[in-house]
Amino acid sequence: MLAEQIKDGARLALPSENSGVPVAVVRALIARGARDLRLVGGPTGGFAIDLLVGAGCVASVEAAGVSLGPRGLAPRFCAAVEAGEIEMIDSTCPATHAGFIAGEKRLPFMAVRGVFGCDMLKNRSDWTVIDNPFPPHDPVVVVPAILPDVIALHAPMADEAGNVWVGNRRELKTMARAAKQVLVTVERIHPGNLVKDSAMAPGLLTTPYIDLIALAPCGAVPTALPPDYGPDDAMLDSYASAAKTREGFDGWLADFLGPDGAA
């Protein structure tokens, strides 16, 4: 249901690995044959981006890095870049964070320290260097706000009032507030209103920022969802191994989608 909200061609922000990756939504996007998605990693990506790229859903990826973490390179992502099948927009973590923070505040731009001399700065027409308007008037890299069409994320819980607890994944709040639409799946619904719980409140993305919430137990599997569960190592191992080839990936994906996935 949530996946239907994400239109073909949408600029879709996704959390970094093990930070609330909405695998259930990604699976549904693939099942419905989504196309031309423009992914933005927050600021990096892994399993979900590789899966979406391998399934042919993606037009471009903007990220500071895409990998399977301890399992090495993201094979479908790398193959697609090498084949020229997707556009890769390389970033660096602090620049992506700055872009989302500018987005959260609807500022047109934000400065970021360093980043000089690298090829991202050279290649990206949307990054530039300005002079610090204050002494010592040093050159400073500035990046524009990132304002995704939509973000999908998975979280341990929502409460009955529609607040979502994202814990210490502060960048998810920033990304959600920068996005035009916010879709959330959760492991469970917590009774009551967590805004009134002073311990839980600081980890909430509150209801004004959220468009839709759906229950999706194990919705981040095989990625980890701290503090609820760790990574599903067997499933990730099988993916990393299978996805090394096109055929291996296709077989793994068919299993992942199940009999109704072909629809």
Binding site: T44, G65, E82, T92, P94, G114, G117, C118, M120, R170
Partner: protein, 244 residues
């Protein structure tokens, strides 16, 4: 003469580069830097290493942005970067080989290197497979570069390049590397042969010290134990058992 593994040697040598900073972060897939950090905790009172994958050594409570803010604040003193290529100007490449638009081989991406290259005072570049394929004349893509316009803010930068053959020191004044020491069994000629960029060769090039018995015992004891939380397989495969 004590025997030791290649990894134990690199852990001990890298640890010696960590200096008097207080805080180091080791990233994903970095067992040797993590182990070197753990070892350095014993050598440098007040030093502390955060290890990706070890919840007890992940002190961040504000998500992915916090380590970058800490680096800007000068609270992050030490970091180890690897990559696919490094060149003689200390540009590193974590992105691709060939034309980046249509690369022969794509890798992960630059992660935080481009920003941290200006913020962390003690950056060690670690390329454990020293060859002309990794130590190149000019990187195919600059993921991070110390080359900034005049007057740019800089509170850090690359300081060392450690490989499995030798140790280079980066000289910010010349913007190039100087050979600091060669590992046991290596020669300057062999290193020159395996290196794609020019470097300064001092009159006397010492041999990189070997780890002493106390250091090896420390690596095989506390360090091995601590490392096993995030890198159990590596600890088992690459570090000897205590007393062996």
């Amino acid at each position: 003469m004590s025997e030791y593994t290649r990894e134990e040697f690199l852990i001990a040598t890298m640890s010696g580069l960590f200096g008097d900073g207080r805080f180091m972060v080791s990233g994903v897939n970095s067992p040797i830097p993590a182990a070197a950090g753990l070892l350095h905790e014993h050598q440098q009172p007040g030093f502390c290493v955060s290890i990706h994958g070890d919840p007890d050594r992940t002190p961040f409570v504000d998500g992915g942005v916090e380590p970058f803010d800490m680096a800007a604040q000068g609270r992050l003193d030490t970091f180890v970067f690897g990559g696919v290529q490094v060149d003689g100007q200390a540009n590193i490449n974590l992105v691709s080989i060939g034309d980046p638009k249509r690369p022969k081989k794509r890798f992960t991406g630059s992660f935080g290197a481009a920003g941290l290259y200006y913020l962390i005072p003690n950056i060690v570049l670690f390329f454990p497979s020293h060859s002309r394929r990794s130590l190149v004349q000019k990187v195919d893509f600059r993921s991070a570069s110390p080359q900034a316009p005049e007057g740019a803010f800089r509170q850090g930068g690359p300081k060392w390049l450690l490989t499995d053959l030798c140790l280079f020191r980066f000289d910010p004044a010349t913007g190039g590397f100087e050979l600091a020491s060669v590992h046991l069994g290596q020669t300057v000629a062999a290193i020159r042969d395996a290196t794609g960029f020019d470097f300064v060769l001092p009159k006397d090039v010492p041999t990189t010290p070997e780890p002493d018995a106390a250091t090896l015992s420390r690596i095989r004891g506390d360090v091995r134990d601590g490392l096993s939380v995030a890198y159990a397989q590596f600890a088992k495969d690459c570090i000897k058992t205590p007393g062996s």
